[in-house]
Amino acid sequence: MTAEPILIVKDLTIDLLTAHTAVRPVDSISYQLRRGETLAIVGESGSGKTVTCFAPLGLMPVGVKADVSGSVLFEGTELVGANEETLRSLRGKSIGFIFQDPMSALNPARRIGHQIAEVAELHLGITPRAAEARALDLIKMVGMSDPNARLKQYPHELSGGLRQRVMIAISIAAEPKLLVADEPTTALDVTVQAQILRLLKEIQARMDMAMVLITHDMGVVAGAADRVLVMYAGRQAEVGPTEKVLVAPRHPYTMGLIDAIPRRDDAIGSRFRGLSGLPPILGAPIKGCAFTPRCRHSVEGCGAQRPPLRTTADPAVMAACPVLNA
């Protein structure tokens, strides 16, 4: 993990414009990612995790216009301001994507085999026949039984877990260098979640891919990520190696998230220790620290000026809370 980073994100700010509103779900985010490394982006729903990864690659739903500023360098190519042609040539080939809901992400009217094979055919420049063989290999690789029959099946004939395996097969079909997984286990049964996560880690190790894992589940972070980036209201709260951030959080929001995880020694029936309050509604950028209204440690002045992300007492960890890290 000493090589040059393959992904360098710097001061990434994204404004989303829709028919009804304008919001800024991503505000000055910076991070780097190396080959083989996994970065988890953590936050509550609506904190801008997904947009951070998808908007710079031009993957926004119809009816949403993303204004992206800052810089996203992928293997030396600047993505911010790049044309659709450039972005498309990267998607699928160099960067693979896994979506949250495997129920709706697969095309209901097409055979699974075709949906996998077309990626290989397009990006690896192989014949349709070879692509089909590759699809078969991939089906086996993601651990599905009876691969030959699976190729001819349609998504509605599979369970959620199997569909997510298909989605993984699609995302890695062209051997990308970076995999973006958006809540890959959220929509699945608890028992299946662990299997899918293990599969992802396995494949990542085998292909030496970098991975961005978007999640709100601290358990997933602990199990899969090398480093973690905690987002709150579109801003970075804390960044650092997983083992350090989870053990000794240095931002009140991270502390709250970790504190909310149920523990083995909790008395049965004890009160749930969630974060009180709700995340702010996105809109105009909030003056000062966005977490102030929910923060136990807030002092006068927190709401006045925006706290910068600073190196903490541990040089590997950065946090945006001057109150706890003075």
Binding site: D15, L17, A19, A22, R24, G63, K65, D67, A284
Partner: protein, 297 residues
């Protein structure tokens, strides 16, 4: 009250072109007797086949009747016909639809199968059959079209009624002990009526087309009452000599129907997100640009 509010809200969200065309059609229809420059049925054989002039802006037909006056009077014929047909069709449709949506179960099942069959048969064939049995007359035409149109109204009413019945406050009402009659007449019926009115308006274009088609075939509005389809068929033998008398009623009818169809399209497309237009993007960017200055200060 509820239905008026729902209707007003829906109208406000409609494309201007549709509101303008439909508004013009309705105004012309309402005030036709006061704004026609001449008596639409007054013949003046000296004027027969005349081209446009200052006195007769759109000329006169083969019997020397003022074309403009006849076109305006035809708007009234069409408007009245459309309103009568929609009134009859939706009266049947709403009652059947709300009963199906309210009762559900086998009542719903039976009623909707009937509606299915009614919808599977093209509306023109139903109206032709009815006219073929009962004979050609104005009220038979209205009856024929109403019988052809009620199934689609029932289908929409049922969908709306089911939607209304599934709202949490309806459940609350039932738990609080509101009587079924009260639920039906005070809550379900008005809410359904409001929503169905929008669809009814969008459907008016198709009804106007059907009235014109029946009149064109000589089975609807009878001469000398001016009606667009009937004016067109009247002028058809003189197509070569005087195409204007064919084209004008056709165009007027098409224009009126276009208005209703724009409306229908707007109703159908409202739920699909579409890419933002340049003007909308610019407006939203003004908002985001103001953020930058705010944060700096």
């Amino acid at each position: 009250m509820q239905s008026i509010k729902a209707f007003a809200k829906a109208v406000a969200a409609l494309p201007r072109a549709a509101v303008f065309t439909i508004g013009a059609f309705i105004l012309l229809g309402l005030f036709a007797p006061y704004i026609t420059p001449y008596d639409p049925n007054a013949q003046n054989l000296l004027m027969a086949g005349e081209g446009p002039s200052l006195a007769h802006w759109l000329g006169a037909d083969h019997l020397g009747r003022d074309t403009l006056s006849r076109l305006i009077a035809a708007a009234r014929t069409s408007l009245v016909g459309v309103c009568l047909v929609l009134l009859c069709a939706h009266s049947i449709g709403i009652v059947i639809g709300t009963i199906a949506g309210y009762r559900r179960g086998w009542t719903d099942e039976v009623l909707m199968r009937v509606v299915d069959v009614g919808q599977a048969i093209p509306s023109l064939i139903v109206s032709l059959a009815v006219i073929g049995i009962f004979g050609v007359s104005y009220w038979n035409m209205i009856l024929a079209l109403a019988l052809a149109w009620w199934p689609s109204s029932a289908r929409i009413s049922r969908a709306v009624a089911v939607n209304v019945m599934n709202k949490p406050h309806m459940e609350a009402l039932r738990v609080l002990g509101a009587s079924p009659l009260r639920i039906y007449f005070v809550h379900l019926f008005p809410a359904t009526l409001g929503a169905v009115l929008v669809y009814a308006t969008a459907d008016a274009g198709a009804v106007a087309l059907a009235i014109a088609t029946l009149s064109f075939l000589g089975l609807g509005i009878q001469p000398p009452t001016p009606e667009w389809g009937q004016m067109l068929v009247d002028a058809l033998p003189y197509l070569e000599a005087d195409p204007r008398q064919v084209i004008l009623p056709g165009l007027t009818l098409t224009l009126a129907v276009v208005g209703f169809n724009i409306l229908g399209e707007a109703v159908a497309l409202n739920r699909v997100p579409k890419p933002l237009g340049a003007r909308l993007v610019a407006a939203r960017r003004r908002i985001t640009a103001s953020w930058a200055t705010e944060t700096r200060s």
